[in-house]
Symmetry: C2
Subunit: 525 residues, 2 copies
């Protein structure tokens, strides 16, 4: 018998719903108690922050008429009772539940190139590193090459291991490989928007890697939409997203037709593209589209700037462009690690927020070197301080706090993918898209050694929860992500060394006893 | 019988000796072969890059008259032969030997605050976070408090685990705790310069944490020098370094007297301090020292700018200051993670190198959030690209390449601590201060899983060594550091999950066999 609910018990930390805006904010929403998720719907059914002790947890179970099932799925006698399962955060290791991270901009196809970009900037990086790799994911056949499968399996595994419960992915121009990415996300249970990349302008796409025409861009996009909607009709885990690469690689016809395609769905289909990443790119767009007043205006003229559009980068927007984007309700994926790595510039996030624009974080693998949203959180903070430093008047107003950057990675990202009521926090009715983080125990043994499995966050015992979160943000990594759920389903779990050890120890006498019995029988006893 | 030599076999990667200078460079010195270290001296005795196979390794051993000893120290029959031990890099996991990292600026005492700095900048950060923590390491007694021991054990363990074979440490004002740091570094075998912090200016030091007078600064410094020289008379592992905190916290008398103290040794003793980290600090120094022409001139007037002086930060130097520092032969510790985290600014490293100044990297824990020099390498590259982006003419000339940043972390750091002929590379006569790095094997099993112990670097099989090194720099962490040596001594080794597994498996029958013998004896056989 499967448990009806899973009860999560321990410390829950999230960001308040209030928007990040013009002033640095330092608020975490920290609660200790119990929260229960329906295993059927994958949604949060309720919570009780008065459950401060394990004793009160027992009272809660009793009051509700719930009986627990053990972790390994063994059944217990239940009568009329409702069977539930309990998952506890390890308090001695400073464990807590946190909303899953939302990566609003990541090129799944470029994952194998992570960290490989030499000293290039955007336009040369595309030609030298990116297009050749992406091109290798299709050979004209109906089957995706093994390289695509390997890359996609790996990027899903890595991002899940880093706590990414939802990703807005760019694939490549290839229909079979794009469909494969959707299949794999569905199989692993990672919430994902899957974008088949459109690029048909022969002047700015290589001959070996482009759509043969605007019609081909639309036709191939429709083919992937059809596949993705067939494997997950309600879009519960995966959904398509229309993906014109960026203005220089797309003909005006393809952009218009893709805009119309998006508008033909109800609700209109999500769109993602790049904008204003690098100064040379901005100049190129100005030259290619002399009749547009700005880069944002190019997209707007082709019907691509909508409330369900994710614009990646937006480093060099003009005030007019910010105003246009805000008026259309389009969203921005801020990709600080990529912008620093490719020398694209310092995105003034506070200025975007002040303009009322919704902002989330993107890793932008592999312009960004890391598939970890936590690294994007760190880089967003660092970049904001350098914006502040570069400002004429150094007010510190541009500084993003740790809490604001975490807001962008969760609540902000949820808004960017137009799911603010469904993911990014722990309210009743929301999907249980969450991660269980463990930091470390307080020096419970000699400080002389470091625990290989424990990660790089050291807790000394005097830290407040706010300080523990700061330590996590600055030195945490995938080792601190002990478990990840999407829609209530456990989609990643880190193996516990300690658990293994104890299994090993207990297995020795057991094995020995069986040897003894064997020997006794062999000896005729 | 102990082995006379340790023979290291596999791929060796280092940076060429040629200085980092005005143009971006992209050169790694990559060799495959054997290198041998005298276990008595801890120095490299020779190498042979023609030893390209294990067969040739056997030939080498035979030619040299060397017989191997097994890893666990068991003796073998040897006759007239010389006993050696062989350590191999795991080639299937893309292992290689690399020079140990040199951290030219790290506050050991601040380690527990790693990641905790809120949104502060330098001067408020010192008052709010740093001085209170440092003050807790002394209580007036002759024994360092437990908090100091815990912090120092941890920072040594963490930095060794990250491949730091040499560190220029700041301790606190307390003699017992400073001496303890030296004792612990010696015990663990980490090469370290140990600085007792001097700060006697009541206007800029808190009452609860300062030297009572300039005389006290000198007296207490002499006490730690005396202790450190008594525990390691030849300075083989640990050595003292004279450490006036920075100009605002030091009286002119204390700076002059500390300068004279340094000059009284032969060779003059090393000195370390901070310079020009933050604009407010620069303004403060100008106000406090109206008779000096610059911040650098303040130190120079007090005899503190010498060929054995390490100046940390140097973000806002004037051309005149660069010229003065170059003419005195003083060195700079570049601390990019700290400068970004505290919003101090973008240090123009290329400009420093062009001025002929020697530069190394510092983590600056805990202004810097990470104790990993590899993180400092990453941040140095990112910061250089943002300097480039901010420059009037965007030439890309300011960009540091991966190779240059690794140069700063090894050869550059060796020059900064005045040991260019002894550490930072793999030449004969140099100390074996090295790390064994392993990346990962090429997807030898399903890409769907990630190996917890393996780290975050994914190798797909097509990468050149240059590309593997880029991947390591951008996504590597302490999980990739499998072993670390200083002076030929193994000072850190990462436990091998695989190895443990196999030990466990093989131990089962062994244990069972002993049970069987026991049982047989018990049964009277």
């Amino acid at each position: 018998m499967s448990p009806v609910y899973t009860i999560f018990y321990g410390t829950f930390i999230q960001l308040p719903r209030a928007p990040a805006s013009s002033e640095p904010k330092h608020v975490l929403d920290i609660n200790h108690g119990a929260l229960w998720v329906s295993n059927k719907s994958g949604r949060i059914e309720g919570f009780d922050w008065s459950v401060t002790t394990e004793g009160k947890l027992c009272d809660l179970l009793s009051d509700k008429g719930w009986v627990t099932i053990s972790g390994d799925g063994e059944e217990e006698a239940i009568g009329e009772k409702t069977v539930v399962k309990v998952v506890k955060a390890n308090e001695s290791r400073n464990g807590f539940f946190f909303p899953g991270f939302i990566d609003t901009h990541i090129h799944a196809s470029q994952y194998p190139n992570s960290g490989v970009f030499g000293s290039s900037t955007l336009l040369e990086w595309l030609q030298k590193y990116t297009f050749p790799l992406e091109a290798s994911y299709g050979d004209g056949s109906d089957i995706a090459p093994k390289t695509a499968r390997t890359a996609y399996e790996k990027v899903i595994a890595r991002t899940l291991a880093n706590g990414t419960t939802c990703a807005a992915y760019y694939a490549t121009i290839h229909v079979p490989a794009t469909n494969l990415l959707a299949d794999l996300c569905l199989k692993r249970g990672q919430r994902a928007f899957i974008g088949r990349v459109c690029m048909d302008n022969p002047d700015y796409c290589p001959d070996y890697y482009r759509d043969s025409s605007a019609e081909e861009s639309v036709r191939a996009t429709e083919a992937t939409i059809s596949h993705i909607q067939s494997i997950d009709p309600d879009g519960r885990v995966v959904a398509p997203i229309i993906t014109p690469r960026f203005a220089p690689t797309c003909s005006p016809t393809s952009m218009s037709d893709l805009g119309k395609l998006a508008a033909s769905f109800d609700p209109p289909m999500r769109i993602q593209t790049h904008i204003s990443e690098n100064k040379n790119e901005v100049a190129l767009v100005k030259q290619l589209f002399p009749n547009s007043t700005s880069y944002a205006d190019v997209y707007d003229q082709h019907g691509l700037v909508t409330p369900r559009t994710i614009l990646a980068h937006a480093v060099h927007l003009t005030p007019e462009e910010r105003s246009l984007i805000h008026s259309r309700g389009a969203k921005i994926a801020h990709c600080p690690a990529s912008n620093s790595a490719l020398g694209s510039g310092l995105c003034p996030v506070r200025t975007l927020l002040d303009a009322g624009i919704i902002v989330g974080l993107g890793t932008d693998v592999s312009g960004g070197y890391s598939s970890s949203v936590l690294e994007a959180v760190r880089q967003a903070i660092l970049v904001s301080r350098l914006v502040s430093y570069s400002a004429k008047e150094q007010t510190g107003k541009e500084n993003l706090s740790v809490e604001e950057a975490l807001y962008l990675a969760t609540r902000g990202g949820a808004k960017v993918v137009d799911m603010a009521d469904q993911i990014g926090g722990f309210e009743a009715g929301m999907s249980w898209d969450a991660q269980l983080i463990e930091l470390s125990s307080v020096n419970d043994r000699s400080a002389e050694s470091v625990d290989d499995a424990q990660g790089s966050v050291d807790i000394f015992g005097w830290e407040s929860w706010e300080e523990k979160i700061q330590k996590w943000v600055w030195n945490g990594d995938d080792r601190n992500v002990k478990a990840v759920w999407v829609n209530g389903r456990l989609v990643h779990q880190r193996s516990q060394k300690e658990a293994k050890k104890s299994v090993v120890h207990s297995s020795v006498p057991i094995l020995s006893r069986s040897w003894v019995s064997f020997l006794l029988r062999w000896l005729g006893f």
